[in-house]
């Protein structure tokens, strides 16, 4: 394999990760506000199907993408309403929606199986595509892949640099304190759940109108993406760049799985494919183990400086979820 071939492949990895980036960032924003949207798997399928149907009917890709975002926002609205207004478990509602939306997409999408709708294509950026390495890697992608890069930066900038982003972090970490400082916690949670849902909803059309163009029902190869998205969100530690890194790591593992197939015949092909999940579990383990009672118990007797060091090491993982994730807020 030549250098440039690797670059082109990596460029492909970046493109393959684009929908996952959207979904993970959408989920990250929602969870930052304290709303865990477990419906991701059904949501991506339904928005993939819905946006494909719209693009098919209108012959307009843009309307298709719009539909995908709308579906994502609508489903998030249901999650938000059930949990924020009706005080029901976010996990339960999200899980039901994950299954419901999946079946709904198969049922409603049956008549349009296998049809050909418009799709977006590559859009090399003149001038920039010629830059060595970066040109190949970044500037010969399609619109949504560019947007995925922009979105990562934008999401990071919004969350960590803007005033509303600061409030967003606040309502997810300590809604009571955010309330005291003038934030309308529940309304903001609605807003961010729906914005996050709309962004994540775009993952659907990126699949069905671009990288896996078409709608093929159960063999579309999309069932399961949503669960992976939830895993990467955790791995990403609710930080856009780390989340994006998780998405690219996932796509690279997938790619490695097939590249290494001939050279590592002794490794079952499933190993690299499922790798994101053990990775997620390990991440969670490192992040949480410090809180476990037995760890605390055994740490208690250690000399203070050793304790500090261990606490520091655990802290370095620094991927604690928003403290109020999934916890409803009621002002006194």
């Amino acid at each position: 394999m030549t250098d440039s071939a690797i670059l082109i492949s990596l460029a492909g990895v970046l493109a393959a990760a684009a929908p996952v980036v959207f979904a993970v960032l959408g989920e990250t924003i929602s969870e930052r506000a304290g709303v865990l949207n477990l419906s991701m798997n059904g949501m991506i399928l339904l928005s993939a199907m819905g946006s494909f149907a719209v693009a098919l009917a209108t012959k307009n890709v843009f309307l298709g993408f719009l539909a995908g975002a709308a579906i994502g926002a609508l489903i998030s609205l249901i999650v938000a309403f059930a949990s924020l207004t009706l005080m029901q478990s976010q996990v339960a509602v999200g899980f039901v929606l994950a299954l419901l939306c999946r079946d709904l997409s198969y049922f409603l999408g049956n008549p349009i199986m296998g049809q050909v709708a418009p799709r977006i294509s590559q859009l090399p950026i003149p001038g920039l595509e010629g830059i060595p390495i970066l040109g190949t890697l970044i500037f010969r992608q399609d619109m949504m892949t560019y947007l995925s890069f922009v979105l990562v930066i934008l999401a990071w900038f919004f969350i960590f640099r803007t005033r509303p982003g600061l409030t967003l972090r606040g309502i997810g970490e300590r809604p009571a304190a955010a309330f005291v400082r003038g934030a309308n916690v529940n309304r903001l949670r609605y807003v961010y759940a729906m914005i996050g849902g709309a962004i994540a909803g775009l993952a659907g059309p990126i699949y069905s109108l671009s990288i896996k163009a078409g709608w093929k029902g159960t063999i579309s190869g999309l069932d399961g993406i949503g669960w992976i998205v939830l895993s990467i969100t955790i791995f990403g530690g609710w930080k856009p760049f780390r989340a994006a890194l998780g998405c690219y790591l996932f796509a690279i593992l997938q790619w490695l799985g097939l590249v290494l197939q001939p050279s590592l015949p002794s490794v079952p092909s499933q190993v690299l494919q499922v790798a994101p999940f053990p990775l997620m579990i390990l991440t969670l383990l490192f992040v949480n183990i410090g809180n476990a009672e037995w760890v605390e118990r055994s740490l208690a007797r250690l000399p203070e400086n050793v304790r500090r060091e261990i606490a520091k090491a655990l802290r370095a993982m620094n991927a604690t979820p928003p403290a109020a994730l999934g916890v409803p807020f009621e002002k006194e």
Partner: protein, 400 residues
């Protein structure tokens, strides 16, 4: 406790009755009207394997008077949790089906159970080998017929088209999961490609690269299989300019179209459904496809006339016209081919019709061990149960 023993007694009786059933004869003639039940593994409109079968039965309905169709698609436990294929077959029987086509090798076990449980129903198991006396899985069932087309030939043709087209001498094969069938189809494509490379293009066999990448399943399951889109991309990115698809879904064609749009000269070969070529105008070199109509017509007719006899058939193309919808079990629909490539395909088909056999020694398996000695021709068994990829092919031979 008494109940338990009674149940075991019932089991015993069932086993005895079940084994006695092998002695029974096939169901009697179905008469002038016949409702056909069709069980498909994927969606009936999948533009792939299932739809090819669906079209095959549609052909029967048009050609054989008195036939009706009831069908169920997506007959797999992922799509229809909690159901078994034999149960789905029974649903069709309840709708009046007297002959049930189980149109996938994946349904083998359930089709056998169904055939054993319903001796009055004609059963067709497509692509199975249970009624092949010389096969490894021979399990005589008087009401079952196995039907399969010799796709190997058309994969060879696909290989020829690929070899005549490639500029880089690198051909990729996008494989599903690894088994005997997928190995022999991949090997066939390789044999065709090598033949054209050496004999038509007069190039050194060493300069031809033929690489197989398996995704691990018939379609993509995120988090479990490799992504065929990525596989196709990877081929195109690493200098492979033709990708032959071994899976039903059309990622290879879609990706080739994408790369062509970027000004790259790459092509793809879809698989097994004639109209799949429409999805990739300008990028598909052609499609090797199944034409199930004639074979299904024959078995349906035999059931109606009372001439049904359990057997296994592996149907060759009609060499006079491989695309004859009434006679050829498999075909190759040409797509975007250069003049030379198109001529090469025609020449090759002509040679095959005259008796050219590429399954002929000396051939070694991938590990270098002899598979066929010089001069010997492979038997059907040797081809059907190909144990490894052939020497000269890259890629995994056996799943780990």
């Amino acid at each position: 406790m008494r109940n338990v023993s009674r149940i075991f007694l019932m089991l015993l009786i069932a086993v005895v009755v079940g084994s006695a059933a092998f002695a029974q004869s096939a169901p009697p003639a179905a008469g002038s009207n016949l409702t056909i039940g069709l069980v498909m593994v994927g969606p009936y409109n999948d533009h792939g394997w299932s739809q090819a079968n669906y079209d095959g039965i549609q052909y029967v309905l048009a050609k054989v008077p008195g036939t009706k169709l009831v069908y169920i698609d997506k007959a797999n436990s992922a799509d229809r949790p909690g159901t078994t294929v034999s149960q789905l077959g029974e649903s069709l029987v309840a709708q009046g089906a007297k002959l049930v086509v189980f149109s996938s090798d994946d349904m083998t076990d359930e089709a056998i159970k169904f055939a054993q449980d319903h001796k009055d129903i004609f059963v067709v198991l497509t692509s199975g080998s249970q009624q092949w006396k010389d096969g490894k899985d021979y399990k005589p069932l008087p009401n079952m017929i196995n039907v399969m087309g010799r796709m190997e030939y058309m994969k060879m043709v696909a290989g020829v088209a690929a070899a005549m087209t490639t500029k880089t001498g690198k051909i990729g094969f996008l494989g599903p999961l690894i088994n005997d069938e997928t190995r022999r189809l991949a090997a066939s494509a390789y044999l065709g490609a090598k033949y054209a490379w050496v004999n038509y293009l007069k190039k050194d066999a060493k300069d031809l690269q033929f690489k197989v990448t398996w995704i691990g399943f018939w379609f993509n399951i995120p988090g479990v299989t490799s992504d065929p889109t990525q596989v196709a991309d990877d081929f195109f990115n690493t200098g492979f300019d033709v990708v032959i698809s071994g899976i039903d879904t059309t990622e290879a064609v879609a990706e080739a179209a994408k790369y062509q749009a970027q000004g790259k000269t790459v092509w793809a070969v879809p698989y097994d459904y004639a109209k799949a070529i429409d999805e990739g105008k300008g990028v598909s070199l052609g499609v090797p496809y199944f034409n199930w109509g004639p074979a299904y017509s024959a078995v349906v007719t035999s059931a109606m006339k009372g001439t049904w006899k359990s057997h296994w058939e592996w149907n060759a193309p009609d060499w006079k016209n491989i695309n004859n919808p009434d006679t050829s079990a498999v075909g190759f629909k040409k797509g975007t081919l250069s003049k030379a490539a198109s001529d090469g395909v025609d020449t090759f088909v002509g040679e095959l019709g005259k008796g050219l056999n590429l399954w002929k020694g000396p051939l070694n398996t991938q590990d270098g061990k002899p598979y066929l000695k010089a001069g010997t021709v492979a038997t059907d068994q040797q081809v059907w149960y190909l144990p490894q990829l052939l020497e000269g092919m890259q890629g995994q031979s056996v799943s780990k």
